[in-house]
Every structure is written in structure tokens, then in C-alpha cells.
Point group: C2
Amino acid sequence: AKVFKVAVLPGDGIGPEVMAEALKVLDTVEKKYDVRFERTHANVGGAGIDNEGKALPDTTVNICKTSDAILFGSVGGPKWETLPPDEQPERGALLPLRKIFGLYANLRPAIIFPSLTGASSLKEEVIAGGFNVLVIRELTGGIYFSQPKGIEGQGRDRIGIDTMKYSVPEIERITHVAFQAARKRGKKVCSIDKANVLSSSVLWREVVTGIAKEYPDVELSHMYVDNAAMQLVRWPKQFDVILCENMFGDILSDEAAMLTGSLGMLPSASLAEGTFGMYEPSGGSAPDIAGQGIANPIAQILSMGMMLKFSFGMVDAADAIDNAVAKVLDQGYRTRDIFQNKPGEKLVNTKEMGAAIIAAL
Amino acid sequence: AKVFKVAVLPGDGIGPEVMAEALKVLDTVEKKYDVRFERTHANVGGAGIDNEGKALPDTTVNICKTSDAILFGSVGGPKWETLPPDEQPERGALLPLRKIFGLYANLRPAIIFPSLTGASSLKEEVIAGGFNVLVIRELTGGIYFSQPKGIEGQGRDRIGIDTMKYSVPEIERITHVAFQAARKRGKKVCSIDKANVLSSSVLWREVVTGIAKEYPDVELSHMYVDNAAMQLVRWPKQFDVILCENMFGDILSDEAAMLTGSLGMLPSASLAEGTFGMYEPSGGSAPDIAGQGIANPIAQILSMGMMLKFSFGMVDAADAIDNAVAKVLDQGYRTRDIFQNKPGEKLVNTKEMGAAIIAAL
Ligand SMILES: CC(C)[C@H](C(=O)O)[C@@H](O)C(=O)O
Ligand SMILES: CC(C)[C@H](C(=O)O)[C@@H](O)C(=O)O
């Protein structure tokens, strides 16, 4: 049997609960396919701070380095909110992980399942039949990581400085990811920028336009970020793949995710060159419901599915997981966050949802 | 009678049509109040390019300089979209106007009138009773104007660079605008930043928090920009005044405006220190319906009302205009963009809407 090494980083809040279900699904995958997953657990986020003194302990980094992929839960919570930003769970863990492992391509699907349109704040007529947008966000460049960055001067003379820089190769590689993804779906890429104001956007638009010529089967359009924030609300179905630089992708992928109304359903992948990647739910650690066993494990399970597909090339197994999730939704299984009290719905807890998905597999 | 000088810049697309109605309302204000408005028309945007060779001709700048306020229509259209970004109507006119006249405070109300909730893409239950958010956007700093900015290097070695800088005084003055506005409304300011990633945001948050102490009657909260993009969709009524730096304000004010479903209704003000300001509709030049006499003049008329209030201190006249607009909406008058074919609605064109508002005054 093939052996893959997985670094398991459950993190904080509902992270450990939903991770437990994802790992059970992984057990089932081992049984169905000729494969073995060697799992090493490690601390991250608040759990890292509490147990090893920092959000991303060195032991955790080393475990990730000797693994083929990272399965990540979620981090953060009120307990650590008073720490300096650099040391907080989100920033202190996520940004270094992205940088250390070169996770430049963030794939964030915003999918509204036809049976769950009721959960969206959008009108039924706007989302009838659901929608399926894939935001591809550049994750290791731009204003997140470029220098100079910092606060200069003293007292009232201080100036806060950030820099948004993009090089041609940085834009090229993320553009290829977007076009390759579009090829396998709706064959449309909408590239987001603010080329009427930003120089980095002027370069972005030019490079994206150039790369697009290598994909004559995929349609390219450009949209300003402010307009995109509007168009997502007005008519999300107009989009297939949305390609963004880091900051715009942060904002628009969250907006798109919220439009689906079911954050607990959305997985994400952050990919390096090659097959290494980190996989995590799009929603947060939801400290308000942590420990109650009621969180929705679907996002974590779908994230694990993305790991099978992108890091281990197990496309069939990933599809089987997607189908199993669709099936349990059709069967009416609902955790509290997606329960609408409609005929045929069965309210279940985290473990029951996990079990239903395993049964459907 | 008091005399105020107004630079009238109708611009492109529907600009001249809706401006004509706003000026008729201004005539009515002259008759009702002891005041005279000396108006000087000038070219801007595409009209500037076509008639005087650039989007913001020197004659126009001079006319604005000798005026007490600028009443602006809208600029842009397909005809000028192939020009280099710097020369295009939007960028070539708006950014220099903001800089030359120090228009640092952009006030963009996103109001959904109870009678128009049907036009929003949000569910009735999310917006029942309407909502009223005021986005206050810093307009002359941040990544729009800071240096270095440009594209360096050659060929594939090029790097696109933008800089987001904020000084303490820049943050202080816009914060005062937000708190003073909140005092006159819902007494809540939500300050938007990305302090978990950006140094300029760390400074922003600290300065805003400091200024807030001078306004103990106003409640301050902080929200990350990605979360704000979500929260606007989820529950817009949670917001009163939203305070943003330039780029975040660009994105969130457009998102909030679209959530109302009636862009043609939303005015905006861009204020300098003192009483000078520029007033313009939030929507664009709508070239697709230009020249047909069907555009909604309400945003332009309400923008003119903001001018009366902020530049000329005519609060009563501004309120009268707001009330007249509310009245014609209650009476069922609808331009095509807000017509829903409900009982009691009367479909009217631009001129008829203008006349109805004047009658209601
Ligand atoms: C926690 C924060 C640093 C992070 C980001 O801005 O990238 C988060 O919002 C995300 O989208 O993963
Ligand atoms: C046209 C553009 C430069 C402008 C901006 O980004 O500020 C516009 O989007 C706006 O919001 O007024």
C-alpha cells in the first residue's frame, strides 16, 4: 500500500471536534483504497501557545516538514486576543506556515448547495439552483509580506507603512493555477485588480492577460475589486473562477463564503509548488460553540478531500467524499448551523454527521 | 441674500441629465430660502477629454478654485476606456480633484428606504424596515497616493509597487469626522482595519482608539476588513457609521451600496477641511441608458442636498430635500431602476421625477 504522511494540526475551538470526524473518514478511505495515512498530531494556534509557548512551535514546523501534507483545523479564541498581533494564534501560525512552506495558491470554493439556499442572506431568486464560485487567492506575496512594513517615528510623528509588491513570476504562477482550475470547471476566469489606482495591479493585469493566451479555451475578464464586491452581491452566478492578489482575495473570498450562508460547509486548500499543501476549513474556530459536539464537520471533511486530490492525486476518493456529503445533505442530515426546520430535515450533532458521511461513503 | 458659488461639473453619460434636475431643485431652493447660487459649468471626465484634451482641464480646476463647492455628475464610458489609466475619465479627474482640494473625508451613506427593500438582493427578513449605514472613507491617503508607487525593472524582472502609508494626523482628522457624524445618528462607530496583518492598520487602530476617548457618548468597535465584508452581507443593520481607510472604504462602500439595491439613490460628499466639498452620486455614468431621459436623478439631487448642508450650512433646506424625496417615494413615483410593478407605483422618467420632487418641496 502507498503511504502518505499527514501532519494533523487540530488547533483551537471546534478544531479538535471536527478534526476527529475528518480522521474517521480518513480511516474509511484507508479501508476502501490501497493506501495508508501516517498521522502525526501537533500543536498550533492557542494550543501551541498554551502547550509550547508559541502559536507555531518549532516541533510543529518540523513535523510538517517531514509530512506530505498538513491537515489544519482552526485557530484562535478570546483567550489569546489580548496578545500582541504577531503572537496571536491566527497571525502567529497562519502567516509563517504560508511563508515557510511556500503555500502560494489558496483555493477557496464558495459553493451553495441547492438544498441549502435557504441559509443564504441572498434572495431565493438571486441564488435559485445554487452557485459555485472558486476564489483563487495569491497567498505569499503582496501587502501581506512585502517590505518595507512597520511603524516609523515617535509619538504623533509616527507613520504606519505597508508595501504591496508583485513580481512577474509571482503573478504568472498563480495565474496558471487559476486557468488550470477553470479548464476543469466553467472555463471562465475573472481577474480582480485595481488597475485604475495601483501600479501592482497594472502589472497584474498585463501578466494575467499574457498568460491567458496559453489557455485559448478559457475566457478571461478583468474586474475592479470594488465592482467585484458589488457584483458578488448582485449576481454571484456570473462568476466561475475569481483570481485575486492576496488582500483582495482575503476580502472577496470571505464575502463570497458568507453569501453561501453556510461557512461551516466550505473547505480550502493552500498549495505549494509540487504536491505539498495545507488544508483547512474556511470558517473560524467558533469558540462560542466549542466543546458542545454540535459543530458542522463538513468543511473539515471536504478539506481532507481536497488533500486527497491535490497532495495525493486520489481524485476518485476525493470525488467519493464530495458525493457522500451531497448524499447526506439530500437525506436531510443537518447540523444546527444549517438546520432550517423544513420537512425531511434531521438535526444531528458533529459525530452523527461524521457517521452519516462514513455510511454514505 | 447670501451668495454661494457652485462649480457645476456634469461629466458624462447620465451626468448631464440628472444634473439638470438637481439644478432645477436648486432654483427652487433659491426661491424658498434667502440665498443665491452662482453656477459656473465646466468640463470634466470624457467631456473634458473631448472638449479640452484632458479629463481635468486647467480651466475646470480654476473654476473649482474660485467656487465654494463642486457639484459633480459622473464620468466615464466605453469611448475612453482604451486610454492609459492615468488619462481615463475616472482616474484622471477624480484622483487629482481629491488631491488638489484636499477632499480627505468621503461620506457615503448606504440607505435602504423601507419602500424599496424589494430592490435589494438581500432577503426581506435581513433588511425588513430598511437600514442606514454611513461609510466614512479616508480619501487622500493610503495606498492611493503614497510613494513609492510604480513599476520597476525590465521585462520579466519587473516589479509592481504600491505603498500604504498613514500618519497619525491623517488618521486623527478622519476619525473625528466619523465620531462627529455618529453623534448625530446611531452613536456607533465601527472602525475597519487589518491590524492582524498591516502595520498601517496597527497605527490606525491605536489612533482611532485614542480619539474615541474624546467621544464617550459614542460606542467604538473594531472589525477586520474581511469580516466586515461578511458582516455587511449577514446583517447590515448592525452598523451605524463605518470608518475606513481609503482602499477598504472603496470596497466596503460599494458593497454596502449594492446591498441597498438602488445605487441610483445614493449621494456622496467628499469634504476638505473647512467648508469646501465635492458632491456626487455614488453610482456611475451608466452609459447604457445615457441620453434616454430615464435615469434616476435622486442621487444627484440628494448630493446637492449634502452640499447645502455641509458646504453652506443650510441644514433645513437639506432636510427639506431629503423629506421631499421620501415623500415622492411614498407617493409611488419610480424611475425604471427602482420600479417593481407593485400596486400604487407610477413609472416616471428623469424629468418627471425631478418635477415631482420640486412639487413636494
Ligand atoms: C488570520 C488572517 C491573518 C488570515 C488572512 O488575512 O489571510 C485570515 O483572514 C485568512 O483569510 O486566512
Ligand atoms: C474611479 C476610482 C479611482 C474611484 C476610487 O477608487 O476611489 C472610484 O471607485 C470611487 O470609489 O470613487
